[in-house]
């Protein structure tokens, strides 16, 4: 779903209130996973599920995207990044080449904490967004 991935990436990169929170600005937004040793904080988005609706002759896709921020500072910092992601996506209309985005809504909140091999705490905050497009 390259067109939709590109639409989400450009939307997130266009949010200066978000990118100003990240280490690396617009380059700190990654699809699937961040590169090894990427500097924190950063954002990762990935497809969680979904696919074709097959409801009508018009091709429609209903996708779930997991979009989250990672921070080593504290949970609140990850939450602040998540809030900016939410402001850019929830009930907004994405530009998707070849498609019309008719719904983008947050459905699930997910927070997590991991400890890396160096003993550092990494905080994640994000949400699952339902992104629906019509051709």
């Amino acid at each position: 779903m390259n067109a939709l991935n590109a639409g989400i990436l450009s939307t997130l990169q266009g949010g200066t209130a978000l990118t100003s929170l990240l280490s690396g600005g617009t380059a700190a937004i990654h699809y699937m996973q961040a590169p090894d040793k990427a500097a924190f904080p950063y954002v990762v988005f990935s497809i969680q599920g979904g696919g074709d609706l097959n409801l009508s002759p018009s091709r429609m896709k209903d996708m779930l995207y997991f979009v989250r921020g990672y921070s080593k500072t504290n949970p609140a910092n990850a939450g602040t990044i998540d809030a900016q992601i939410d402001a850019l996506l929830h009930n907004k209309t994405l530009t998707v080449t070849g498609w019309t985005n008719y719904r983008t809504q947050r459905e699930t909140d997910i927070d997590n904490e991991e400890v890396n091999t160096a003993g550092e705490h990494i905080y994640m905050a994000g949400g699952v967004y339902r992104v629906s497009i019509d051709s």
């Binding site: 409801l55 009508s56 002759p57």
Partner: protein, 138 residues
Amino acid sequence: MTAYTGSALDVKWIDSSGTVLLHGDFTVFDYSPSIDLVDQSAGVDTNKTYLTTLKDGKASLTTNFQSGTAVGGTASFSRVYEGASGTVVWSPEGTAAAKPKYTIPAIAMGAVFSYPYAGLVEAKCDFQQNGARVEGTN
């Protein structure tokens, strides 16, 4: 025998302004024929029996309504306002030669809209059959 889905369905509404294709974003199309019955049971009958009288039918189209004034939006559904007269023609397997085609003169009962907050906006229109159904081919 070959089963098939409704994916090739073609539905047209023909009125005095021309022809509108209604199937672009349809999700369900139904047609239900019916017939009036007269109860002829009497006397010592232990089971009801009927005489058949007048044939009838209804068609119904449900579609994902399109925004704006495009085909599939108001351009299509303003034509099937309640009381509009026309003809419904549907071809369940598409319009290739020799595929089945059904035609009914009809009165549109008006588009019924549903606007769910987080779901697709749907329009549904019922058509009251207004004469004989013609079964043919494309």
